[in-house]
């Protein structure tokens, strides 16, 4: 017999399994700037920031296969819809709210499948700055919407410290300011992770080294923008490394 108790247990175990794997994930930051939106993260080897559709991009931390599955499902939906109706009918709300969230929730609740390990940010550029939007999607199908900025990190604590830092900025940045802010937010996320990693190990937590500098020893920045004022239908552009440093 499968009791409500077992259901709660099973969900809790699955969440624990996923959270454990997300814990060490590299943080992701999205920031709206005067002429577009920016997604920035750190990558080790694999590409992480992806174009989804003309006005949509995506970046996630988690298991590579799950990150890919969500990316491909998103691209499928957007292109089928963009062709059958029109590119204007493709929206971040329809994509995340209706296409991705319900199946993720179903998969999470199904004890016979391996849970998806992923936390993702979707960014959409509107025709006007006030229409720029970010959606953060979680492995259990939960999602939240944001304007100005959005963060995704391995733990709630890391996300909180990133959000706290970004809330401190009130002006709309230009691209280079947005990159600087995003890097600071990444540093804040990494600092939280370093602090909590070292709870049992006092040697490292106060070693005074910059957690971002440490992370950059075996990772590099990866970032992309959606540009509002490009004549192209496709607004996406990966930033070159010289634009990031």
């Amino acid at each position: 017999m499968y009791s409500p108790y077992d259901f709660n247990q099973s969900i809790a175990h699955r969440a624990e399994y996923v959270e454990e794997r997300l814990k060490s994930g590299m943080p992701v930051v999205a920031i709206a700037y005067d002429e577009g939106v920016l997604l920035l993260t750190l990558k080790k080897t694999q590409r992480k920031v992806f174009e989804i559709y003309d006005q949509l991009m995506y970046c996630a931390l988690g298991n590579q296969a799950d990150v890919e599955a969500v990316r491909l499902a998103s691209i499928d939906f957007c292109h089928a819809e963009g062709f059958s109706r029109s590119p204007d009918d493709v929206s971040i709300q329809r994509l995340v709210g209706f296409t991705l969230s319900p199946p993720l929730k179903r998969a999470f609740g199904d004890p016979m499948t391996s849970p998806n390990v992923l936390r993702a940010i979707f960014a959409e550029i509107g025709k006007k700055p006030e229409n720029d939007q970010f959606f953060v999607l979680n492995y259990d199908g939960e999602f939240s919407t944001h304007s100005n900025f959005a963060v995704a990190g391995g733990t709630e604590g890391a996300e909180d410290s990133m959000s706290e830092l970004l809330k401190g900025f009130t002006s709309t940045p230009d691209l280079s300011n947005a990159i600087a802010r995003a890097k600071d937010a990444i540093r804040a996320g990494l600092a939280y992770r370093k602090g909590s990693d070292d709870e049992d190990d006092d040697d490292r937590s106060n070693d005074g080294n910059d957690p971002l500098t440490e992370a950059l020893e075996n990772a590099t920045f990866e970032a992309a923008i959606l540009e509002r004022n490009t004549p192209r239908e496709s607004k996406f552009r990966l930033l070159k490394s010289e634009e990031l440093n």
Partner: protein, 272 residues
Amino acid sequence: MSLQFNATGDFSRLVSPLTPEIKAPVNASFDTHGTTVIAVKYRDGVLNVADRRATAGMSIMYDKSEKILPLDDHTLVSISGSFAKAIEIARYLRHSFKYYTRSQLQPMSLEGKLAEMTKALVQNIPMALQGIGTFVPVLSAWDEQAGEGKIYFFDPMGARFESSDFGAAGSGSAPIRGSFDYITRTKGPFAEMDLQTALRECLILLDIAADNDAATGGYAKIAPSAKAVTKDGILNLNEGELQRVLDEMQTGNTPQSLNVRAERVEADAPSN
């Protein structure tokens, strides 16, 4: 149920172009009609010139149709035959190339694009056999690997032919077929001409086609369209300046150098 996705990059597994099932009397002729489109290889790529008349039987439906359609930054398709079907296929191919590039994180190869075009034509055979919806494309591309422009023409069954110097399609193409040879024999190959010289020859060819074919639009009111595909992307020849040259040509005086401004067109290959 978990997330479903298509890992192949094959857009036709998601959607297909609108294809009505019409049980009309079979009229198995592949006559194409109502157009002249010309493609020639010039020094820096491939130039396409097309009239802008859309016809239905004896009626002129529209005199401003655009028959040279960019599929991406390195591919142009010029269409003849059923306008509705051709536009739908071009829209499908644009989405299909974008879909492939974004999902597979690499651009589709030129061979892959040609195969997609063949597939679209093969799917269209039932409509073509019913005497409606036949379209015949001429595809011009910049071949990155070979470092040169390429011209391919197709028959309505989907067969693909590569043309070494020039290609033309539509009802107005037959009357000017020999003129291409005349030009290459008397003035040298198109491949040695610069853009303005090649444009001049193509405008004259199109004028002759319009003189000989009722379904090809002349210059009197609307300038034809002209686009080129090059290493650096798609170029559009400025319509206003084309009109100026054509007005001059109407007086029987074709200038030696046209000086029509060529502007870069963003044809939207995704930037992965």
